[in-house]
Amino acid sequence: MFHLSDTQLHDYVDKELTPDAIVATDQHLAECAPCRSRLSSLADLEHQLQRLEDPEPQPKVYDRLMHSLRDRESRDRTPTDITSPSRWIVLARMRPWAIAASVAILIVAGIMLAPDLVSEASSLTFTPAMPARSNQIDIEYRSDGRFAEQTSLRLRSRYRRPGDLPYVTANTIATTLVRDGESRIFRGRIRLPDSVVYAVFAVEDAQGRVVDSRGRAGWELMVHDDGVPVYEALVQKREHLFGENWEAALETQRLAATLYPDEPGSWHALASLERELAGSTLPESLSERFRQQYDRLGRLFEQRSIPGSSMSAMAFLAADLFGSDSPQMNMWLRRLYAEAPSRPDAVMFQIDDLFGRFGTRSPRRMLEGLDSLWSIHGAVHVLLMEEGFRQAVALAEPAPVARWAERLQQAKPSSSVSIATEMLKHPPLRDSGLERLLHELNKFQSTGDGRRPLYRSVIEQRRWQREQRATIHGAIGTALVASGRFDEAVPHLDSAAATGWNVSLFHTVAEVKLRVSDVAAAVDMLARIRVDPAVSQSFADSIENVALSLTDRDRWTRALGAARREMFDRSLAESINRHVDGGVRYRNRAGHTRTLAELTDGRVSVVAFWSRYCAPAITELPALGRTSELMDQMGAGLVIIVNEPLSEDLDGFLQSRGVDLPLVHDVRGESLPAFNAWSTPLYYVLDADGRIRFKHSRLEDIPRQVAALQSLESRIIAP
């Protein structure tokens, strides 16, 4: 049985149907209980809305009106009393209430816009704010004082088009913004390319040295259709937020499902996200709601021709709700294979099916199946190439690895380093892998601006490239070591160890140095491992024993001193120096309000933004627990900010994972603007003066960053 469309129902409620249509609708409603129920819910809403009570204005509005009326009467009566027209206008404008109101506004503004906040906040506004496809857009950037010397700025944009993948930050383009006179405002204009549905923007100076990316979040623009974001814009926003801000991704997906309930992809993606963020299974209360949607869509699509993407989304949703290989899922799959067999989704399900049959048991059979899919459909979906390469690697035979490496490289050039690194593990492919990696090294020499993410300055990008090159040198060096080509490995390993701080790399280098009989260099590497505060005591002891079997204690002590200095210098070279308001308030477990300054208490401190509704934050929980213990031992402060009240439920959640953390609740939401932090988990290291010295730190880097700041402190305090 067909059902009334939403539009038909709305028109019925609004009495916008023709008499004939009303009769037809009435007939349908008489026979169809689900539509009756939808109608009654809509009519109920309409009824409730019409009966909403109007709020009363306060009595002062009446007084103000009467003042104004009196004022006008007296003006009308005695216009000649006023000798100067300009004074007349001023008087008319400055009525008593107006003066009182403007004083009140000034007071409020004084309270709300404390100087600190005014100087911190920059803004980027778009006109129109809700553009349609390919609209021209006027951009206004109000700077926060960091671009005081600039007459023009660069607006960098990352455009997203339907089908763009998550985790891709490259392909940026730039436009110029010009300062408007002497003001803090810069203006520019862009036209969105036809295909763009979602865009993120950041602003930087002409050289790209100073970037305002609103703390990595950027400013976003979504393509709208008559005031409603188009479906693909929401999808691309979600893809953009993957790995950046999971909570916002979930919110976006909820909005997509609310605005586009007949789009099965909305529900499938929402179910997947809810499941991921809830920790692998959907809560029963949610499952029930999703099942209702599944049933509704099932009825809707029963006798209607729908695109392959809808069929695959229904199949995915069925797999989420009833399990893969459930009759519901198979029903949609049969339809998908019959009506749209070469759609990427159909191929994905066939891969899934192959995996179910052969999986890890027989990579060879699995690979045969994948090769056959490739010969029929070609590079239809990047998953085919990824799975093919993965299975080839599992089979560990050079020919399939080489074959699938080539296919994957074509489909996903961004994975070339990992493809090449994987090839290094197979002796027959090692030379080809090495060749690819050396080629990649050259790529990281150039500073192609289009590949630089919006939030990264040119300086940060150079540092990043240096780190990437060091990683590749490390991989090449390690591969050469595995081939027994120690002498060739040494220069690569030296390059790798010359930047950054990577304990396991130091370990490899120490071994190689010993093999090539460079004992002094080996001892230096061992000293670096020994001084790293993140290394466990027992491992540090065993390293020391090895070192002392190679050299005498004097030499070892000197090596330790040099390693410590090297560690501090390399850490501090990455540091920044940014003010953060120490007056930001939190509520602790005892229910007391404490400021950031009180919590850090003049110590070098780590500030973490954490959420139990964020999968990556949960993944890092054990490591965060270890960091917490380590900070205790190091005498450093640790403040973990959560966005929910501290409750027994939250305690239980942490206890069940075996950690105990010093959480505080950001009751007023002051932290996010103060730190310019928009995602979890996010870590900052503050010096003893409460200034931000490291932002967005990795957990493994935090101990040495803290140690470096503490050393700086003792150097300053020492006479």
């Binding site: 709305h10 809403l45 909403l52 709020p55 809700m130």
Partner: protein, 202 residues
């Protein structure tokens, strides 16, 4: 028409210097048509009387559309202050209440347009809507008023006009400069969001 009772703080007509109207408010309410006539001539007392009768309707429209008490107060004040001019377009055929609400809606729209030019209206409203839904404790009952207040501006405006204040689609389309079908589509979206909001789900 309901009877008019003045709170004590309100000054009497005499003290306001009533000039032309001779009805006695202390005894019986004047007929609305008579108040309209007097207000059209700029009579403060009549405007005051109309204010007391229609203040909630006008303030309600403005508050729902603007989501700001000070702004809604400004609109309310201005609507009544400007009655002598605007009443010239009131032909007296329909009810004054419906007409004055439309005047309030137009004023609120003008204020919104000014705000938009100043860049206060942003698409963050969308996420704010859902976020506010998440932040309301489940135990707490969400009222429909809350839900309307949390709608993105462009939908809140149209819901106020259509569903609460009874504007017709052609009236809305004209005021907002939209095609009728676009106005309908927005109403459908808004209803869907409100239903979702009230269900605390989708």
């Amino acid at each position: 028409m309901s009877s008019v009772t003045f709170p004590e703080s309100v000054p009497s007509y005499e003290r306001h210097g009533l000039r032309t109207c001779d009805y006695a408010l202390s005894t019986a309410p004047a007929p609305e048509a008579h108040l309209v006539e007097c207000a059209r001539e700029g009579d403060s007392a009549a405007i005051g009387a109309l204010y007391l009768q229609h203040k909630a309707s006008v303030f309600g429209v403005a508050l729902r559309m603007l989501n700001s008490v000070p702004d809604a107060e400004d609109v309310t004040h201005d609507v009544f202050l400007e009655l002598p001019t605007t009443l010239k377009t009131f032909e007296g055929r329909g009810r004054l209440e419906g007409w004055i609400k439309r005047v309030a809606a137009r004023k609120a729209l003008m204020m919104l347009r000014r705000r938009r030019i100043q860049g206060e209206v942003s698409i963050d409203g969308w996420l704010g809507f859902l976020r506010s839904r998440e932040s309301v404790a489940y135990a707490e009952r969400i009222t429909l008023d809350d839900a309307v207040r949390q709608l993105p501006t462009h939908l809140r405006v149209i819901v106020t006009m259509k569903m609460i204040e009874g504007f017709t689609y052609p009236q809305i389309a004209e005021s907002l400069g939209l095609h009728i079908n676009a106005a309908k589509a927005r109403i459908h979206t808004a209803r869907r969001l409100l239903q979702a909001y009230l269900k605390e789900g989708w």
